[in-house]
Every structure is written in structure tokens, then in C-alpha cells.
């Protein structure tokens, strides 16, 4: 009897653990003001609903609007309901369907079984170049699983896309990219709802002169160079709720792995805080013709184990990544046909087709690996954690990584930028969640946060004199994508009318607490090199929305 009872207890305990473990995951990120937000909208809309009750768009079927669950992202969830209300005033029936995230992604991208979706693209460094975001509207990416599930196909846009992809001249490319944004803005296959600020904080009693970078906030490649110690502390300590998946440069597929590794590996080019390519391991680069790129390597570089960095290491690295078919990097390198060592300071890349973003996207992403270490490793993905090489040639040297606890780097004295550092070490303390990071800030255990603060923590941080809160704009965006294969979204007039009926200012003011920007173009204003400030904005204007629908004959 006792045995059975205990057995049952054990099983119950296991089930309860599952429940306990799952529950907090769903409540992540909940802003304190989410509830108020709903109430406010309710009140406002109630008055107007009465006035417009008689209007009904007979020709529209009910529209399913997919969004995330409230637990996954309360902002996207609430935004969808705000849109439901305003579109409802136009007489358009909307049915909001909150969907579990991976199911949402599968329905949206892999099955393309949707009317309209509220989704987002995160701002990863390699997306500062417009290639990726513009590609989400390219006619060639409409297949199942492609990045253009809304089925936008526009001949002019696609032609410009090919032109900019092939264009090595920056100014000319900017022109193409701006024209494309103008087309996308006018046709609105995707309505960019908002860009969300990254709100982070640092301890101003220990360090100053932090560098802000769009999408990266303070934990970027430049902060370690620029920060100046205010007191005696020369170890910059960063608190993070996220850690690398692995520090294997042939296996890591998260930004958290690469944000750490990029400090101890060098790349041929680094992107400046304004996302412009800057000479790094490559002294200079040039495109003799549109399928060839040539780089000249610096001659004063050594790996952390004392071996010199040579053109052979560069060639080896690119060949190795191609040979290993490392998925995370394939979009950046698959156009390379051959890598050629011309002389002991020049490497030439032969491409199978013109690729204008080569310096920004490819050369600025791929770390230079030491050939003498990696050449003997045939199956890099099978490396045991303790066997993963950590020798690079980067400005900082790998020191330690204890899973779940700690990562650290020390400045590498033989690097060509060694004199630019005012700090000696950079360390990351890994916390279980954002709450732990914030406590670390309060107890001065850490000097800055690697990731955004929770909404409730922001006012608390602002109240502390020793903390400085930074609002860094993001270039990732949240959007509403129409399925152009579904009526009535095949009609651009409908898309325009409905775009006028989205109150983006309210979304930003209420849901984001003002920490963000109403959306315009897929290339965000915080990416000034490429953003087109003249992209159509569709101001919130219900009368104009009704007018457009009426002119197009939908209210007959």
C-alpha cells in the first residue's frame, strides 16, 4: 500500500515539475501595463462603435488575424486586438487567433495558410545590410518555407533587387535600395507596425563612454574599446540572461555564441557603429569586376598561440566553412566559387554571381580560424566541449567559459588595436533570468546589462543615481503581413485603406510605453545609410480609410 502511494507521489511530483517548469515560461516578459492597455482601448472604441454601427463591408469574408499568445509576447498579442477594433469600425470582421509561437511560424512560413499575421524580424547584425530584409518581399522567395509568405510579386521591385544585389558601388546601391522601399511602401504587402527600443542600463560610477549600436544596444563590438573606467575598476562586467549555445565556431547558431566569439576572433572587416564597413584584418578591399573581390591582409597579426595570421589561414577558413556546409553561414558564403591566394598578402574571392553586399555581409561575418589547429579536425561538430579550440587572433583572448555561470576574455596585448583599450578584462555573469540581471545591477555586481530590461524594471533603474538607462533603437521590426493570394488583400486599395486604420502611435505609446517608433519601412530609420525617409507612412485616419474603401466600391 505504502509502495503504491509513494509511487503515485513520485509520478505526481514529476507531473507537477512539468507544470511548474512550463508555467513561468508562458508569463515571460509581461509588461505591467498590459491590462491597462486593454481597458484604455476598450473605452475609446466603445464611443466610436456606436456611431459607425450601420457601416458593413458586405463583400469581405471574416479575416483571421494570427498573432502570438499573450504569454509569448503580450505586445504583439495586444496589437492584434487593437487592429481588430479599428478595422471593425470600418465594418471589416476580424477574428484574432493567438497561436503558439512555433505553430505560428509553421503556419505562416511553411504552410502559408493565413489571411494576415502579426509577426516580427529580429535585428541581427548581418541584417544591417538591407539584403535580408528586402529579400522578404522578393518574388523569388514566395515558395513554401521562403521568407516572402505574403506572396508579394512586383516586377520592378524584383529587378531592383537583382540590381542592388549585384552593385558593388555603395551610393548606387543605396539608390536602388531606396527605390525598392518606395515601391514596398506604396504597395504595402507588409505593414511595418513598429520598431521596439532596446532599453538597457549601465553603472555610471564604474564606467562611462559606452557605445550604442542599433539592434545591439550596448553589448556590441565597440563598447569594450570605448568604455573608460571612472574609478579603479578595469574589469568590465556584463550581466546576461542568455549564454552561448556553444563556443564552437562551426556549430554556434545563436547571436549569444557569436557576440562572445567575435571578440576573440578577427574578421576581415568590422561594421562601424553606423554599420559601415571598416578595414580590420583586411587593410583594404576592392572589386576588380562584379564577380571578384580582392582583399589585402595586414601583415602584423598573430594568433593567441603566437603563430602568425597568413593569407593561407584566410583561404583555409572560407574553404573550410564551405566544405563543412555550415548552415548558419551558408547564406553569406554560398556564392563563393573559389578562394585564391594571389601573393602573401592578397586573397581573391571568385563568386558565381555578382554580390554587392559581399564586404558588409560576408567579410564582416566570417571569423578567421587558425589553419594549424582546424585543418586536422574533420568532424568539427563532434568536438567534445572541452576540446573546442578557442585560439583566435582577435582583440581579446579567450579566458574561461563555465556553462550557466561565467564567461571571460582578457585584452590581447599583441593585437593591432591593443592600445585602444582602457579595460583589461571583459567578463559576463550568466543569470537565470532578467530579474537576476537586474538584481546584479542593483547590488553593483555587474556594470551593464547585455539584454533589455523588463518593462517594470525601467522606472526602478531610472530612479537610481548610479544607473544610466539607455534607449537604443532597433532595426528589427514588427509587422502585419497580408496574404496577397487571399481576397480582399489582393487589392492594394484595401491594403492601403486598412493601413490607414492602424493606430501605430497608440501601439507605441500604450503597449511600448513610448519606447519605440511607429513603423514605416522594412529598413528602419535607425539604419540611416539605407533607410528611405520618404516611404509612405499611412497616417492613422479612419475617414480616409473609409473614403478609399468607398471609392473602390466596397460599401455598395
Amino acid at each position: 500500500m505504502r509502495t503504491r502511494l509513494l509511487g503515485l507521489l513520485a509520478l505526481l511530483a514529476a507531473l507537477m515539475m512539468i507544470a511548474v517548469a512550463c508555467a513561468p515560461a508562458e508569463q515571460e516578459d509581461e509588461p505591467a501595463d498590459a491590462d491597462e492597455a486593454v481597458e484604455e482601448t476598450d473605452e475609446e472604441e466603445d464611443d466610436e462603435d456606436v456611431a459607425d454601427e450601420d457601416v458593413e463591408v458586405e463583400t469581405f469574408a471574416e479575416i483571421d488575424l494570427l498573432t502570438t499568445t499573450e504569454g509569448y509576447d503580450p505586445i504583439r498579442y495586444e496589437a492584434a486586438f487593437m487592429i481588430e477594433e479599428t478595422w471593425g469600425e470600418l465594418g471589416v470582421d476580424v477574428n484574432v487567433e493567438p497561436t503558439e509561437f512555433s505553430t505560428l511560424i509553421e503556419t505562416f512560413y511553411d504552410q502559408q495558410d493565413f489571411d494576415a499575421v502579426v509577426a516580427g524580424w529580429s535585428g541581427r547584425v548581418d541584417r544591417l545590410d538591407p539584403q535580408h530584409f528586402l529579400g522578404t518581399l522578393h518574388g523569388g522567395q514566395t515558395d513554401l518555407g521562403g521568407n516572402n509568405p505574403g506572396q508579394f510579386v512586383d516586377a520592378d521591385y524584383d529587378e531592383l533587387f537583382e540590381l542592388q544585389r549585384a552593385e558593388p558601388d555603395l551610393e548606387q546601391r543605396v539608390e536602388y535600395v531606396q527605390d525598392m522601399q518606395a515601391i514596398a511602401g506604396e504597395e504595402v504587402p507588409v505593414n511595418v507596425l513598429f520598431y521596439r527600443d532596446e532599453v538597457v542600463a549601465y553603472n555610471n560610477e564604474n564606467f562611462e563612454d559606452f557605445v550604442e549600436m542599433a539592434g545591439e544596444a550596448l553589448y556590441n563590438e565597440w563598447t569594450p574599446y570605448e568604455v573608460t573606467p571612472v574609478g579603479d575598476e578595469t574589469d568590465l562586467t556584463i550581466g546576461t540572461p542568455e549564454e552561448p549555445d556553444t563556443i564552437n565556431p562551426l556549430d554556434s547558431t545563436t547571436v549569444w555564441g557569436w557576440k562572445f566569439m567575435r571578440m576573440y576572433y578577427d574578421k576581415l572587416i568590422r561594421l562601424s557603429p553606423d554599420a559601415e564597413p571598416e578595414a580590420w584584418a583586411a587593410e583594404s578591399w576592392d572589386a576588380p569586376d562584379d564577380t571578384t573581390w580582392e582583399i589585402t591582409l595586414r601583415d602584423d597579426m598573430t594568433f593567441h598561440d603566437g603563430e602568425p595570421v597568413t593569407v593561407d589561414d584566410v583561404k583555409f577558413t572560407y574553404d573550410y566553412y564551405l566544405e563543412q556546409e555550415f548552415g548558419y553561414f551558408m547564406p553569406f558564403i554560398e556564392m563563393i566559387e573559389e578562394t585564391e591566394v594571389v601573393d602573401d598578402e592578397t586573397v581573391r574571392f571568385h563568386l558565381d554571381s555578382p554580390f554587392g553586399p559581399f564586404p558588409n555581409v560576408t567579410l564582416a561575418q566570417i571569423p578567421i580560424l587558425p589553419e594549424h589547429i582546424w585543418a586536422d579536425i574533420d568532424e568539427p561538430q563532434d568536438l567534445a566541449p572541452e576540446d573546442i579550440p578557442t585560439v583566435g587572433s582577435g582583440p581579446m583572448e579567450f579566458e574561461s567559459y563555465d556553462i550557466g555561470e561565467y564567461q571571460s576574455l582578457v585584452v590581447f596585448d599583441d593585437h593591432f588595436t591593443a592600445e585602444d583599450f582602457d579595460i583589461e578584462r571583459m567578463e559576463l555573469i550568466i543569470y537565470a533570468d532578467a530579474e537576476g540581471v537586474f538584481t546584479g545591477l542593483q547590488t553593483q555586481e555587474i556594470d551593464m546589462t547585455a539584454w533589455r530590461l523588463e518593462p517594470g524594471q525601467i522606472p526602478q533603474a531610472e530612479d537610481e543615481d548610479f544607473l544610466t538607462v539607455v534607449n537604443a533603437p532597433d532595426f528589427g521590426y514588427y509587422h502585419l503581413t497580408f496574404n496577397l493570394d487571399v481576397e480582399p488583400f489582393d487589392d492594394p486599395e484595401v491594403r492601403r485603406a486598412l493601413s490607414h486604420a492602424i493606430d501605430k502611435d497608440q501601439i507605441v505609446d500604450v503597449l511600448l510605453d513610448g519606447r519605440g517608433e511607429p513603423g514605416t519601412s522594412v529598413i528602419a530609420p535607425s539604419n540611416p545609410t539605407w533607410h528611405n525617409p520618404d516611404t509612405a507612412t499611412f497616417e492613422f485616419d479612419m475617414d480616409q480609410a473609409r473614403q478609399i474603401l468607398s471609392d473602390a466600391g466596397y460599401y455598395d
Binding site: M1, R2, T3, L6, G7, L9, A10, L11, A13, A14, M17, I18, V20, A21, C22, P24, A25, E100, F101, S102, T103, I105, E106, W121, S122, H132, N147, D245, T246, N248, D251, T253, T254, E325, G327, Y328, M330, P331, Q381, A384, P385, E399, S400, D402, I403, G404, E405, Y406, E427, I429, Y431, A432, D433, E435, G436, T439, G440, Q442, T443, E445
Partner: protein
């Protein structure tokens, strides 16, 4: 006795097998497709397929199940989807960290708890009893994330006298597990999370002890002790408490078994790098191999400890062994 042992072991193996199966399928039913954790946006279909093959996710679920069982028999727990590293290596490390916090907490709760329970019985009817029971119930009902945050707020942020996260001040080079925990710095880090867990655990042994004691002190032999002129303390602690301890021992075994999984919430609140925090993260990222391993470790530990308790019971009371075999 021997047939009892054989029957119990057979039961143990069967139960463990059922749990393995349940864990395997529950995760596949309940968690999102791990592809979303493994695969980042912008990968081509080919790369996605390659990644699925690498982790065996291209096979039908029933085939995955047999691969899982086969691997388990050879002591292979699989490769973590998230860390891309063998699960066993991480789990053992996490387990030790968890035990380093949980065992002292349980020890504290189960020595102090019963002693307080005796005290409550002794002072029956007075204010101290009512106060003790109320305090016990409060500690038992207070959610640990709340007591944990309160402790952090008071001792960490407010007074600034105790560390609030992790198990050591970093950077710190430890050459092994014992090197890591045999330091004053570790003890300082241990204090808050351990006390929070102990405070949560202490009510149960205390109240169980009190209840059993109330039954025991009505017995004749207590009267006899008093008649012999023993001091009240001797009567209570040496004679009554001994006879009331059995249910507390059972409870201690169950608690210890569960403790292997750690107090998930406490480990998250204090960023303690233990098994519970790992379990939490594994469920969030759909890291099947990691989640399975952590649950299997916990289930195994509970089963083994229950088994041991049953054996001890069988020794103490032969009727238990008889009944179990017959049923």
C-alpha cells in the same frame, strides 16, 4: 525476505520503464517542435533537413523511442539540442551543484523541524504552540519565489551583506567539485538560497512531528516515564520523540528524492547553476535530450530512495513485506 526483495526490484524496474516511456512521449506531445529551437530564421530547407538528420529528428517518433531506449542502456543520454554537447556531462555537474544546496537545506529542516515539533507538543495549549503552528503554515504556504525575492531585497539589495546569485564569486578557478564548495565564499553564496529552501521545508517535519507526538504522549509508557521521575525534557526528547520519528523519516526520504530535481524556482531566483534551472531552460527551449535526462535522473532518485525506505520498513515491520508480496 528474498522474494520480497525480488518483487520490489521487479516493481522498481517496471516503474522506471513506465516513467521513461511517459517522459519520452510527454515531451514530444507537450513541447513545441524542437526544430524551432535548433533552426534559426533564414536557413534553407536543405540545411533544416541536415540539422534534423543530425539530431535524428527525421525518424518517425516510434523509431526515435527505440533509439532513445537503446542509447539509455549503454549509458548514453544523447546530445543536448541547445548546448550541442553530451547531456550526461552537463547533468552530472548540475546535479552536484543542486545537491550542494539542497542537502544542507534538508539537513537543517529535518533536524530543526522535528525538534521544534517536540517543543510545540511540550508547550501545548500555550501561545508558543499557536504561534509556531501559524508560522509553520505561513512558511509552508509562502511561495518560494516570493520569500526568495524578499530575502534578496533585504539582505542583498538593502543591507548588501550577502551575495544573491550564483554559487561563487567569479572569476574563480576551481580544480574540482570539492575545491568549489569547500570555501567560505561558497558558504556565503549558500546562505540565502539554503535558508529559503529550509524555511519552506521546515514546516512539514515540524507539524508531522507534532501530530505524531500528540498520539504518542497519550501512551502508557509516557505516563510510566513521568512516574519514574524523569525530567520533562528527557521524557519528551529521549522517549516520546524516538517513537514519533518514523513518519518524519519517510517524509525525509521523499523530500530528498524530490530534492535531486532542485527547487526550480529557488534556483532560478538565485541563478544557482543547478539541475532545476537546467530543467526549466530545457523545457523552454524544447531541448528534449536535456529535459529527458533531468527528469529521468529525478525519477530514478525518487524510486531508489523509496525502495530503500521500503526495505527499512520491511526490516522494522515484517508485516509490510508480507502485504506487499501478496498484493
Amino acid at each position: 525476505m528474498r522474494s520480497y526483495l525480488a518483487a520490489r526490484i521487479a516493481q522498481l524496474v517496471l516503474t522506471f520503464f513506465v516513467i521513461l516511456t511517459l517522459v519520452f512521449f510527454l515531451f514530444r506531445l507537450g513541447l513545441p517542435d524542437p526544430t524551432s529551437a535548433l533552426i534559426t530564421e533564414g536557413l534553407s530547407q536543405e540545411d533544416i533537413q541536415r540539422t534534423r538528420e543530425r539530431f535524428g529528428l527525421d525518424l518517425p517518433v516510434w523509431q526515435q523511442y527505440f533509439v532513445f531506449l537503446g542509447n539509455l542502456f549503454t549509458g548514453e543520454l544523447g546530445t543536448s539540442f541547445h548546448y550541442r554537447a553530451p547531456v550526461g556531462f552537463i547533468v552530472v555537474d548540475r546535479l552536484l551543484n543542486t545537491l550542494a544546496m539542497m542537502l544542507p537545506a534538508i539537513l537543517l529542516a529535518y533536524t530543526l523541524g522535528p525538534a521544534l515539533g517536540v517543543q510545540l507538543t511540550w508547550k501545548r495549549g500555550r501561545g508558543i504552540e499557536r504561534g509556531g503552528i501559524t508560522l509553520g503554515l505561513i512558511l509552508r504556504s509562502a511561495p518560494v519565489f516570493w520569500t526568495g525575492m524578499l530575502a534578496i531585497f533585504v539582505f542583498g539589495v538593502g543591507l548588501g551583506i550577502l551575495p544573491t546569485s550564483g554559487m561563487r564569486t567569479l572569476p574563480y578557478e576551481a580544480s574540482g567539485f570539492f575545491d568549489k564548495i569547500l570555501t567560505l565564499d561558497f558558504l556565503r553564496h549558500l546562505i540565502l538560497p539554503m535558508l529559503v529552501v529550509a524555511a519552506y521545508y521546515i514546516a512539514l517535519p515540524m507539524l508531522i512531528m507534532r501530530n505524531t507526538m500528540l498520539e504518542v504522549i497519550g501512551d502508557d509508557f509516557i505516563e510510566f516515564c513521568r512516574a519514574r521521575g524523569f525530567s520533562e525534557a528527557r521524557t519528551m526528547y529521549r522517549h516520546a520523540a524516538r517513537n514519533a520519528l518514523l513518519p518524519v523519516v519517510t517524509q525525509a526520504a521523499v523530500t530528498t528524492g524530490l530534492a535531486v530535481g532542485g527547487q526550480i524556482v529557488v534556483e532560478v531566483v538565485f541563478s544557482w547553476p543547478g539541475l532545476g534551472r537546467e530543467m526549466f531552460q530545457a523545457v523552454q527551449t524544447s531541448d528534449y535530450p536535456m529535459a529527458q535526462a533531468t527528469f529521468i535522473f529525478m525519477a530514478g532518485m525518487i524510486l531508489v530512495l523509496n525502495f530503500l525506505v521500503d526495505l527499512v520498513y520491511g526490516r522494522l515491520d515484517p508485516r509490510v513485506a508480507d502485504a506487499s508480496v501478496r498484493s
